[in-house]
């Protein structure tokens, strides 16, 4: 009985095709990279600014679009389809923040949005800052020797 139950489970559970998922992530992530490069090139030409400023503008644009599409409702479906192709680019960070803010907006401005906005994306900032501090200290010590 138990054996047959597990047979049924393994037969009916959706198969995660690692190869196809990786290809989808490769293509969608690559497209994000191309969009980023295109925006950097575009901003340097259109607004006549340096590459560094154009990079900041590009990141802000992508964050804005990601927030907008998440609140319009169809970015979740895109993320479910592309998975890491949209989670690893900066859009994933903005998407995590936006969906947390939307999810808890019912509970009020301070207790809802304010306290929960960093629920998912806080880990990125915390581990980023802590690890960069540790690595900087190591680099500092190495530089002193």
């Amino acid at each position: 009985m138990r054996q047959s139950y597990q047979d049924i489970v393994s037969k009916n559970s959706p198969k995660e095709n690692v190869f196809i998922n990786a290809i989808i992530a490769f293509i969608s992530g690559g497209v994000m990279g191309v969009i980023g490069q295109f925006l950097i090139d575009g901003y340097t030409v259109w607004f006549d600014i340096s590459t560094k400023e154009a990079t900041v503008c590009m990141l802000v644009t992508l964050i804005f679009l990601s927030c907008l599409f998440t609140s319009l409702g169809f970015f979740d479906k895109l993320v479910n389809f592309c998975k890491c192709g949209l989670i690893i680019p900066i859009t994933g960070f903005a998407h995590a923040m936006m969906s947390a803010a939307l999810e808890f907006r019912k509970e009020g401005l301070v207790t809802g949005i304010g306290m929960n906005m960093f629920k998912l994306s806080g880990a990125v900032i915390i581990f980023g800052v802590v690890s960069s501090f540790v690595f900087s200290v190591i680099r500092m010590v190495v530089g002193l020797i």
């Binding site: 994933g92 803010a101 581990f127």
Partner: protein, 116 residues
């Protein structure tokens, strides 16, 4: 040509993350954190700067560059202001991204109703 490099670089890291996600029990949150830490590590000996020169936007869009900017800012602060710069410089380069995400999320959460 830079577009092809950007495509390959960003795509390769996304595919790598996807394979890790499928093969292990880690959640997307773990994956993002791993990549941020990896990016912070790659900046220590300026390896990531070479990636940025090579792939342009392809290296700036992934979350790796967030970690890279954190370490870069901290080291930049250390070089200009000493030990205090480690603290004041860390968020220097990423401040725009974090602030933008907070501001846009806040106002859009006020405007839009959540769609199930």
């Amino acid at each position: 040509m830079i577009y092809l490099k950007a495509f390959v670089f960003a795509g390769a890291f996304c595919a790598l993350a996807q394979i890790i996600l499928d093969k292990t029990k880690l959640t997307p949150g773990h994956i993002t954190v791993i990549f941020v830490v990896l990016g912070a590590f790659l900046d220590v000996f300026n390896i990531y700067d070479r990636f940025v020169l090579w792939a342009g936007g392809g290296a700036l869009v992934p979350i790796l560059s967030f970690g890279h900017n954190l370490t870069h800012g901290a080291l930049q602060g250390y070089n200009s202001d000493g030990v205090l710069g480690l603290f004041s410089g860390t968020l220097d380069l990423t401040a725009a991204g974090i602030s933008a995400a907070i501001i846009f999320s806040f106002f859009m959460a006020l405007i839009f109703e959540p769609k199930d």
